[in-house]
C-alpha cells in the first residue's frame, strides 16, 4: 500500500494535477460560501470543461469541489449563521455564537483544523477499506450488483429528509429517465420521440445543472432575504490551548462518526453532523454551553462532515456504486472518460485511484494553507449583492449547458429540468434520489436483465447468493418499516374521519 501511495503522490504532484487540485478546492470553497449554487451544480457546470482533461485531473478537480465545499460551507455558518451546505447546519449553532462573541477567528480556524485532521484520517480509512473491498467486489456478478444498487437506492430514499413515499417516486422517475435513448441489448431507441439529440440518452450535465443550479436560483429568488452581510471582526485566527484541549476528543469522535456514516448511501455526511453534535453534547461536562458558543459544537460536526465527504468515495471506487449525488457526478465523469468505476478501477487504472487518494491529502493541505489566510476574501465574496450574483450564475449555467455540444437543445434540457427541480422543491419532492437512480439506472437495468437471462427467468437468483439476499433483505426491511406506520396512520385518520 505504501508503494502505491508513493505512486499516487507522483501522479498528484504532476503540475497539471496539482493545478486542478488547487482549482477544485478553491472553487469548492467558493461554491460553499456562495448562495445559489452548491457543489453538485458546480460539478455539473464544470463537467463539460473536464472533457479535454485527463480522467485523473478531471476526477481530482471534481472531488476537490466536493470536499472543498465542506470547508466553504462552514465559513458562512460561522460568520452569518447561514449554512453554505446542508452539512454545515450544525456548525451554525455554536459557530455563529462564537462569532457574535468576537471569536469568529478561532471558530473558523477550528473548523478548518478539525476538517483537515478528520479528512486526513478518513483518507487512511479509505485506503484501508477500498482496496480489500474492491478485491472482494471482483467476485460479484450481476445479481449481487443489482441487489446492492437496489439496497443503496432504498437506503437513500429511507434517509430522505422529506417524504419516503415521494423519495421512492423520484427514484422511479430517475430509472425511467435513464431508459431514454438506445436500448443496450436491442440497439433500438426508447422514449426519444423522434429526436436525434435523445438517441444517446439525456445528458447528465444539463440535467443536473437544471435540477441543482437553475432550480436553486429560482428558489432563492422567491426568498425575500437579500443577503446578510458579515460586519463583525474575525479576531485572531488561532484557537487557544484551552480550545484545543476542549476540542481534541470532539475531533476524534467526529472523525469516527463521519467516516462510518459517510459510507452509507444518502445523506450520510449530513446525518453524521447531527449525530456528532448530539454525541458531543452528551459527552460534554458543560452541556449548558452548547448553543452559546461551545467550540466542541464546531469541532465535532466539522470533523464529521469532512470525514464523511471522503469515506463516501469508498463505495464509489471499490464497488462502482455512488452513495450520494456528489459521488454520482464523479461516477458520471469517469463514465464520460470511458472508465467504468468499480473493482476493476483499482487494478486497471491505478494512476486514477492512487492519484485521487494522494490528491485528497494534497487538497486537504491546500485547503488549510489557502483558506485561513483567504478568509478575508471569502468574507468579501459574501458581500456580493444577490442582484448581481444570481444573474451571473444563471448566465454561467446557460453558457455551460450550451458549450457541452454547442447545441441549444442542451439549454432546453437544462431549463426543462430546472423547472422540474424548482417545482419538486415547492411540491416537497427531493431531487437526490432521482439523480442517483438516473445515474445507476443503466447499470441496474443491465444487471437485472443479465441476471434473469442467467437464471432463465427465475427471480431466485437474487436470493441464492448470501450477499445479494442480505442486500435485498435490508431493502425490504427498510421499505416495510416505512410503509407500515404510514398505513397505520392512514387507518387512524380514516377512522377519525368516519
Amino acid at each position: 500500500m505504501f508503494h502505491n501511495l508513493i505512486f499516487g503522490f507522483q501522479v498528484a504532484f504532476q503540475p497539471d494535477n496539482l493545478l486542478f487540485s488547487a482549482l477544485g478546492v478553491l472553487l469548492g470553497t467558493l461554491v460553499g460560501v456562495l448562495p445559489g449554487i452548491g457543489p453538485v451544480g458546480a460539478m455539473a457546470l464544470l463537467l463539460p470543461a473536464t472533457f479535454g482533461l485527463s480522467p485523473t485531473a478531471s476526477l481530482i478537480m471534481l472531488a476537490g469541489i466536493w470536499y472543498g465545499s465542506q470547508y466553504g460551507g462552514s465559513t458562512t455558518s460561522i460568520l452569518v449563521n447561514i449554512p453554505g451546505e446542508a452539512t454545515s447546519v450544525m456548525t451554525c449553532i455554536d459557530g455563529y455564537q462564537m462569532s457574535r462573541k468576537g471569536r469568529a477567528g478561532p471558530a473558523l480556524a477550528m473548523a478548518a483544523w478539525a476538517s483537515f485532521i478528520a479528512g486526513t484520517f478518513s483518507i487512511v480509512g479509505l485506503m484501508a477499506l477500498a482496496v480489500p473491498l474492491g478485491e472482494q467486489a471482483l467476485r460479484f456478478g450481476p445479481p449481487e450488483y443489482f441487489s446492492l444498487m437496489c439496497a443503496g437506492l432504498v437506503l437513500l430514499t429511507f434517509m430522505a429528509q422529506k417524504s419516503f413515499l415521494k423519495a421512492i417516486m423520484m427514484a422511479a422517475v430517475g430509472v425511467l429517465l435513464s431508459t431514454v435513448g438506445l436500448d443496450l441489448i436491442s440497439g433500438l431507441p426508447r422514449f426519444t420521440f423522434g429526436m436525434d439529440a435523445l438517441i444517446d440518452g439525456i445528458s447528465i450535465s444539463p440535467m443536473v445543472m437544471g435540477l441543482f443550479g437553475i432550480a436553486e436560483i429560482l428558489d432563492s429568488l422567491d426568498d425575500a432575504a437579500q443577503g446578510i452581510v458579515f460586519s463583525g471582526a474575525i479576531g485572531r485566527l488561532y484557537p487557544s490551548v484551552k480550545d484545543w484541549v476542549k476540542a481534541k476528543w470532539s475531533i476524534i469522535r467526529g472523525t469516527v462518526i463521519g467516516f462510518v456514516l459517510g459510507i452509507l448511501p444518502g445523506g450520510g455526511a449530513i446525518l453524521s453532523t447531527f449525530v456528532a453534535y448530539g454525541v458531543e453534547k452528551k459527552f460534554s461536562k458543560t452541556p449548558e454551553e452548547f448553543g452559546h458558543g461551545a467550540i466542541e459544537g464546531v469541532a465535532g460536526p466539522e470533523a464529521s462532515n469532512n470525514a464523511a465527504a471522503e469515506s463516501a468515495l469508498i463505495p464509489l471506487l471499490s464497488l462502482g456504486i455512488p452513495p450520494n449525488v456528489n459521488m454520482a457526478m464523479l461516477f458520471s465523469a469517469l463514465l464520460i472518460h470511458g472508465i467504468q468505476p468499480g473493482p476493476l478501477l483499482i487494478k486497471e487504472h491505478p494512476d486514477i485511484f492512487w492519484g485521487l487518494i494522494a490528491s485528497l491529502y494534497v487538497g486537504n493541505i491546500l485547503l488549510l494553507v489557502l483558506n485561513l489566510p483567504l478568509v478575508g476574501i471569502w468574507v468579501r465574496v459574501l458581500k456580493i449583492p444577490q442582484k448581481i450574483l444570481f444573474p451571473l450564475i444563471l448566465l454561467f449555467c446557460l453558457i455551460g449547458a450550451y458549450s457541452i455540444n454547442g447545441m441549444i437543445f442542451d439549454v432546453y434540457v437544462m431549463l426543462f429540468f430546472g423547472v422540474i427541480g424548482y417545482l419538486s422543491r415547492k411540491f416537497g419532492y427531493e431531487i437526490a434520489p432521482l439523480v442517483l437512480a438516473f445515474v445507476l439506472g443503466g447499470r441496474l437495468e443491465q444487471s437485472l436483465r443479465q441476471s434473469l437471462l442467467m437464471s432463465e427467468g427465475s427471480f431466485s437468483i437474487f436470493f441464492t447468493s448470501p450477499l445479494s439476499a442480505i442486500a435485498l433483505g435490508i431493502a425490504v426491511l427498510l421499505l416495510i418499516s416505512n410503509f407500515v406506520p404510514g398505513l397505520k396512520r392512514g387507518r387512524q385518520l380514516y377512522n377519525k374521519a368516519k
Binding site: A172, L218, L394, G406, V411, L452
Partner: protein, 154 residues
C-alpha cells in the same frame, strides 16, 4: 401541501400511465428474456402504484385538514418572470446571436432583480454590456466556445 400533493400525484399518475403504455408498445418480453420495455414498465408501474398511494393518502388527509397551498401561492412572481426571460433567451439566441441576446437577457435580469424604474434600467444596461463583453471574451475568445453568430453575423 394537500392540494399540491393531489396535483402532483395526478401528474405522476398520468405520466406513469403514458410511460407504461409506451413500455408495453416497445415490448416487455418475457421473464426469461426481458425486452426493452421491461425495466421502463417496472419503473412506470411502480411510479403509478406509488402515485395512487399518495393520491389516496391525500384524499384521506384532506378530510382532516382544510389548509391548502396552491401552485399560484408557492410559485414566486420573480422566479416566474426570470424563468420566462431565460426561456425567451434560449429561443432567441440561435437567431439573434450570443451578443445581442445575452445583452438583452442580462439587462432584463439585472433590472428584474433591481426593480428601480428607468434609472435602474440604464444601470442594468451598463452592467449588462460589461457582463456580455466579459463573458464573450472569456468563453468565445479564450475558450473557443462556438456561440451562434445569429442574423447579424456577430
Amino acid at each position: 401541501m394537500k392540494t399540491l400533493d393531489l396535483t402532483s400525484s395526478l401528474f405522476w399518475l398520468f405520466l406513469s400511465a403514458a410511460a407504461f403504455a409506451g413500455s408495453l408498445h416497445m415490448g416487455i418480453g418475457t421473464v426469461e428474456s426481458p425486452g426493452m420495455g421491461f425495466v421502463p414498465a417496472a419503473a412506470s408501474g411502480l411510479l403509478g402504484i406509488l402515485s395512487l398511494v399518495l393520491l389516496a393518502n391525500t384524499i384521506v388527509k384532506k378530510l382532516q385538514d382544510v389548509t391548502a397551498d396552491t401552485i399560484s401561492t408557492i410559485v414566486g412572481r420573480r422566479s416566474l418572470t426570470v424563468l420566462i426571460g431565460v426561456i425567451i433567451y434560449s429561443i432567441l439566441m440561435p437567431n439573434l446571436g450570443y451578443l445581442i441576446s445575452t445583452f438583452l437577457l442580462m439587462t432584463y435580469l439585472y433590472w428584474n432583480m433591481e426593480q428601480n424604474g428607468v434609472k435602474g434600467l440604464l444601470r442594468s444596461a451598463l452592467y449588462s454590456i460589461l457582463t456580455t463583453a466579459a463573458s464573450y471574451y472569456l468563453f468565445a475568445v479564450l475558450l473557443n466556445c462556438p456561440f451562434p453568430a445569429g442574423i447579424l453575423k456577430f
